[in-house]
Every structure is written in C-alpha cells, then in structure tokens.
C-alpha cells in the first residue's frame, strides 16, 4: 500500500474516534525532532479538528536557561578559551549577543558535530583551553560522558565541558503538575527513549494517568502514535505503548546509561520557563571536577532574563503557539532570531516559520480554545 493510502486509513479512523467529543484531544509531542517532522511532513495538516498536537519542551537549545547562554558567550569572549559547540547553539543570543556574534568579533568558536571531534581538536592544540558546550537531553549526554572519560584516561587537561544536560522526565512531570497546561497524552520522544527505554515513562502512566506512546519519526509512525493515544483515551484506557520497538527497548541502552551515571549525577538544573527543578539535570561528579568548566574557570551563573516580548517560555511549555507571539515572523525570524525557539532547527517557532506560517490565523484560534 502506498504511504498516502495508509495515512488516509489512519486519519479516517482518527476522525471517527474523536468525532462528537466536546473537547479536542490535546496530545503533546515532547521531542523537537517530532515537532519538526510533523511540520515538515505535513502531519499537522492532516490532524482532524478534534485533535491538537502541541509541541513540548523537547528542543535542547530552547530549554537551556538564558543565564547559561550568557555564561557560555562570556567564556568565549575571554579570548584564551575556545568554545566547541553543536551548530544549533551558536546563534542563540544572550544579554551580550550570541556565540556567532562573539566569533565575528574575534572569539574562537568552533562548530563540532560530535564530542569526538572536540577531543580531536583538543589533542591537536594542547596549548589551548577547549570548552565543549554540553547541552541536550539523555540523547547527547552519553557522548559527553564518553568524551570526559576519554579525556580523563588520556590526561587531556585542556579539554572540559560546560554542562547543561537535562533530563526529560522532570520536564514532563512539571508540565502535568501545572494546572494551566492541558495534556491528555504524550507522544514520547524517540531519540531519548532509545537511551532511557520505554519503561521510563511508567510514572507518567501510573501517577499521572496519562497514556504514553513511544513512536518513530516518520510521518506514518507519528500518525500511528497519535491514533493509538486516541484509541486509549476514547476507550478510557491509560497504557504505555511502544510502537518503535526496532529502536527503543523497554530498558533502554544500559551502556549509555552507565556512561551517564559514571560521569554525572542528577542535580538541580535551571530551565527556561520551567525554572530551577531538583534532580532535573546532570552535574559532573566530583571525581571529574577537572573537566567541569564551571569549576575549572570559576564560572557562576548570573540572572535569568527573557528577551523583551519573547514568549519562547510559553511555547516550550505548550501554553502558546508561535504565531501568538507579537515578534513572530516580523522582529523575530530565523535570520534575526530573538528567542531560542526561532534559532534552533528543532525549535517550535522555527518549524512554524518554515512550514506553517501561512495558516497562522487558523492555528491560533484552535489553540486558544484548547489551552485554558
């Protein structure tokens, strides 16, 4: 069967399931890659009126607190330190500009695609301090951990990380604890689930009574995930389903989890919009303090501040859609981005700007009704 026909089958059943419900179903896709793929593949345009797919706090750059960005850019401006970063981070602006702007002014900022590449640079230039901006969820944390372990075993003293890794479960809990956000079920993040395993979402099902479905990134897989959530909700069920068993096991990737645990310990972390949450991030263990740039360079974080008029905080918590922002598409565009959700390729604002700007009016109305 062609994928268009399969999709039609899914959407037909979905429409029938939700027909006649008083309230639309609010289903959150937690993962930034899901957000982008839903927009790019047109999945959002195929949702029946009774289903709303809302984007969650799954873009690593977007959830990073503003004060971390400030500290990172300030470190880059010192002159004697090279910042190694994944590409998405480079254009996020703090109070004193972005890494990109700092680079234009002479800071040494290099985009790497892996921590291995970062290590290689540190080996090649042993005289220079190399600091890797370690952001991301459980997806990227194992690679950071592996790099720290490798640096430690080699005695690579000029390599360190500025950690801001986040854990996904605390964010989901925080949203459910917030009476202002209505979520009927979760499309669970694919990549993170590969690491932490499908069972990690058990508390969301058990304690919060929300169905969770782990699914892949293809358009059909995502629609299938939404369909399974709708089936559960309509039948009054609350289960954890794994529709992506080819990549996600029940227990996750024990090797990756061990790496994380070897280098990091769960600690209080500052999130954009969600604030400081205990046990929601990863601190470098004392044993590896020499590789923690916060300690190595004696960096303390300043105050948080949102760019004026920016509603990224509301966007990543599902309280608003990008087109509700006054800055969207006018002052704030991917080129002259104000907030991180417009900068990041996984950000909700950028996805809307690229793929959904034209249907803005409609989408705003639908969301205002559903977000109480």
């Amino acid at each position: 069967m062609k994928s268009r026909e399969v999709m039609q089958m899914y959407t037909r059943e979905l429409s029938e399931l939700v027909a006649g419900r008083a309230q639309p179903l609010s289903l959150m896709e937690v993962c930034g890659t899901h957000t982008v793929n839903a927009c790019r593949s047109g999945v959002h345009s195929l949702m029946p009126a009774g289903v709303r797919l809302i984007s969650g706090p799954g873009c690593p750059v977007c959830v990073t607190a503003q004060r971390y960005i400030d500290a990172l850019v300030a470190l880059g401006r010192r002159g004697d330190v090279t910042i190694l970063t994944y590409g998405d981070m480079i254009r996020v602006a703090g109070a004193g500009g972005s890494l990109e702007i700092a680079r234009g002014e002479g800071a040494d900022v290099r985009v790497v695609t892996s921590t291995l590449e970062g290590l290689e640079i540190a080996r090649r230039e042993p005289e220079r301090e190399m600091v890797f901006a370690a952001v991301g969820f459980e997806t990227t944390a194992p690679a950071t951990a592996a790099a720290v372990l490798q640096a430690a075993s080699e005695g690579l003293r000029n390599f360190s990380i500025l950690p801001a890794h986040k854990l996904v479960l605390p964010a989901m809990r925080a949203l459910l604890d917030d009476p202002g956000v209505k979520i009927d079920g979760f499309v669970c993040p694919g990549h993170v689930s590969v690491i932490i395993g499908a069972e990690a979402y058990r508390p969301i099902v058990g304690e919060y009574h929300r169905p969770c479905v782990v699914t892949g990134f293809e358009a059909l897989q995502m629609m299938e995930g939404v369909l399974h959530l709708a089936r559960q909700i309509v039948r009054g069920e609350t289960r954890l389903e794994n529709l992506y068993p080819e990549a996600v096991s029940a227990g996750g990737n024990p090797h990756a989890m061990k790496l994380i645990d070897r280098v990091f310990v769960a600690g209080t972390s500052a999130w954009r919009a969600l604030g400081e949450m205990p046990e929601s991030g990863l601190d470098v263990r004392e044993e590896f303090a020499a590789f923690d740039a916060f300690r190595k360079f004696n960096i303390s974080l300043g105050d948080d501040h949102e760019p004026r008029g920016c509603i990224c905080g509301k966007v990543i918590t599902g309280r608003a859609v990008p087109v509700e922002c006054r800055l969207f598409g006018t002052v704030c565009t991917p080129v002259y981005a104000v907030g991180p959700c417009m900068v990041s390729s996984e950000g909700t604002c950028q996805a809307w700007f690229k793929y959904r700007r034209h249907e803005a009016g409609l989408a705003v109305r639908a969301t205002r009704e559903a977000v109480r």
């Binding site: 268009r4 790019r40 345009s45 702007i101 234009g104 629609m223 565009t333 080129v335 793929y355 034209h358």
Partner: protein
C-alpha cells in the same frame, strides 16, 4: 532584558551567515552593496547582467569560489568554477563563450594539486565550449587563505529570439527539474563532516549545463518561459522565489521530485532538508503545459537530464505561496532558506 537586540548586533559585523546565500546575504547586498552602484543593468540583481553590444545583447557574470575541500567526490573547485560561471549565463538564455580566471593561491599549496585543478578547469571549459581568455594569479601567505580561491567572470551572447523571465510565468505553467536534487551540497558536507564514511555513493552533480539547456530550448522554444540553476538555497530557494515573485500559488508534488535514496539518507544523518541543499548541475525550468512532454523528452535524451521530472504547477491563486504536497499527502509551505548552515559550499 537589556543590551542591544541580536538584529542590531548582526548589523555591526559580518558573520559567516552573511555569505550563506539566504536572507542575510540578500540584506547585505541590497542594503550595503547595490545602492552604491545603482544602475539599470545592476538593479535587477540577476545572476548575469544584460548589456547591449554591437546591436545585440551580451550577458556578463562574475563569481567567486571558496569551496572546502578543494577536491570532492564528483569534482573540484576548478570544475565548479567553470560550471558555475557558464550555468549562470546559460540559464539566462545566453551562449557562454569566454571566461576569465583569477587564482588566489595560499603559500604551501601542493603544485600537484594545483595542476590537477587546472587540468580540470581546462577539460570542463572544453566540455562547456568556452575559452579561458584572460586571468590573474596572486599568492598569499600561509594561513591567509585556504589553499585556493578562484574568481571568474564570464560573457556570452544572448540567444536570438529567446525570451525568459518571471513575468512570463502564468497559471497552468509547469515546473520541471532536470534531475535528482541536493547532490552537490550533500557530497561536500559528507566529505567534510564524515570523512571516515568509507565510500559514499554520493557525488557532486557539478557540470556545465549549456548543452542540456540548448536541447530544452530547441525542443520547447518560446514555451520555455523561465530557467534558473538551483545552487545555494537549492530547489526550495528557486521554487519559493518563483511563487513569491510571480504572486501565483506554486504547488509541488513531493513524490515527483527526483532524489536518490543515498542523498535522502545523507540529508537525514546531517539533519539537512534536501530541498534547500545546493545543486551545481541542475536546471529548473518553467514551461507551458502543452510543451511539457517535448521538453521532458529532450532533457531525458541528454546525458545530464536522464531523470528530469515535472513536479510542480502554477495555479491561479494569487497568494505567492509555494506549497508542497508531502509524501503522505499532508501540506506545508516551502520558503526561501535563510542561508545559515552551509558555509563554503561553492
């Protein structure tokens, strides 16, 4: 929030993205460069300027090449320089004739590499039917360049009777692309980012298109109304530009866009949208519906157009949007890429 806005900071110094070929490049050129030289030949900001000469019309273009690495699967900076220059002329309806060659060489470049690149320039020029008629050579100190930069200029005579322009596009017209997209940009990125990937099937499509374009024009005549080579900004750049500048709705069928599985896969690992990735050996054509079959046949008979396909249609729905019907039947828009992620692709 305190401090200057990011937009203002971006107006203080040049950042890499100013060279990305997207919105920032446009802004730099239209705000800083073009106004200082304003004249009717420049002001259209086309890839080539149309200059009256000896009763006919000449097309004049220039381009610089800073691609890294210098040699890549499917080509090198030399083949790229000749192809890029003649293609800019050919899509405007000219017959490319003469090319200049400016070499800026970094101290330390292996002569063996330089020789290979010059050989490649010579053979590509023969293939394109142009002659290198003037040039210049400069050497800069180690660390002040990156191996080799090339600047070219190209001139060609306008084909008599050919009328191309966005103003001729009208509802019902069909959009054609001459073959599988996104291969140049992805081949470069893959070589750069994943040098350890043993052997990729992916190679740059870089090629001079004069012959292919001539075949299409011969078959379609006046029914070919517009052509553009989708280089930086890729397929999406040209398609969105066509929609917004004609003011018509352009609807694209994603399934009909030719793209090789290896390309799609590479785009996925690198996190790039193949629609926005540069091509260096493809042309996009807008043709009248009645001429679609003959133009497609002519393209497909040429070795560089074997996989040509029609995948879009202009509709009388005056919103200037380019909309794509996705593989699964969903809909979304295509916009001009703003040109950030891929420096030094050409």
């Amino acid at each position: 929030m305190s401090g200057p806005s990011p937009a203002n900071l971006l107006r203080k110094r040049v950042v890499l993205a100013h060279g990305g070929g997207g919105q920032l490049t446009d802004d730099l050129v239209s705000e800083l460069v073009a106004p200082r030289f304003a004249n009717p030949y420049l002001d259209t900001l086309d890839d080539a300027a149309r200059i009256p000469m000896h009763g006919g019309e000449m097309l004049f273009t220039t381009d610089s090449y800073v691609v890294h690495p210098l040699q890549f699967p499917g080509g090198d900076i030399g083949r790229l320089a000749i192809s890029g220059t003649v293609n800019d002329l050919a899509v405007c309806g000219a017959i490319p004739q003469f090319v200049s060659l400016g070499l800026i060489i970094e101290e330390g470049l292996e002569l063996r590499v330089l020789e290979q690149i010059l050989e490649s320039i010579a053979s590509t020029a023969r293939e394109a039917g142009v002659r290198v008629v003037t040039g210049d050579t400069k050497v800069v100190g180690k660390g002040q360049g990156d191996g080799l930069y090339i600047n070219t200029a190209g001139v060609g005579a306008m084909r008599p009777g050919v009328q191309l322009g966005m103003a001729r596009v009208r509802p019902g017209d069909v959009l054609i692309v001459s073959g599988p997209i996104a291969e140049h940009g992805l081949a470069i990125m893959l070589t750069r980012e994943q040098p350890n990937v043993v052997r990729s099937e992916l190679a740059s499509d870089v090629a001079p298109l004069g012959g292919l374009i001539e075949a299409a024009l011969r078959a379609g005549g006046e029914s070919v109304v517009f052509m553009r080579d989708p280089t930086r900004g890729g397929f999406a750049g040209v398609a969105s530009d066509l929609a917004s500048r004609t003011g018509l709705r352009l609807t694209i069928d994603e399934e009909a866009i030719p793209i090789r599985p290896a390309t799609r896969y590479a785009a996925e690992i690198l996190g790039l949208d193949p629609l926005s990735v540069a091509n260096e050996g493809k042309v996009m054509l807008v043709v009248r519906p009645g001429a679609m079959e003959v133009v497609l046949r002519a393209l497909r008979e040429h070795p560089l157009g074997k996989d040509a396909a029609a995948m879009g249609r202009f509709e009388r729905f005056d919103d200037g949007l380019c909309e794509i019907v996705t593989r699964v039947g969903g809909r979304r828009i295509i916009q001009k890429p703003y040109g950030e992620e891929l420096p030094r692709i050409c």
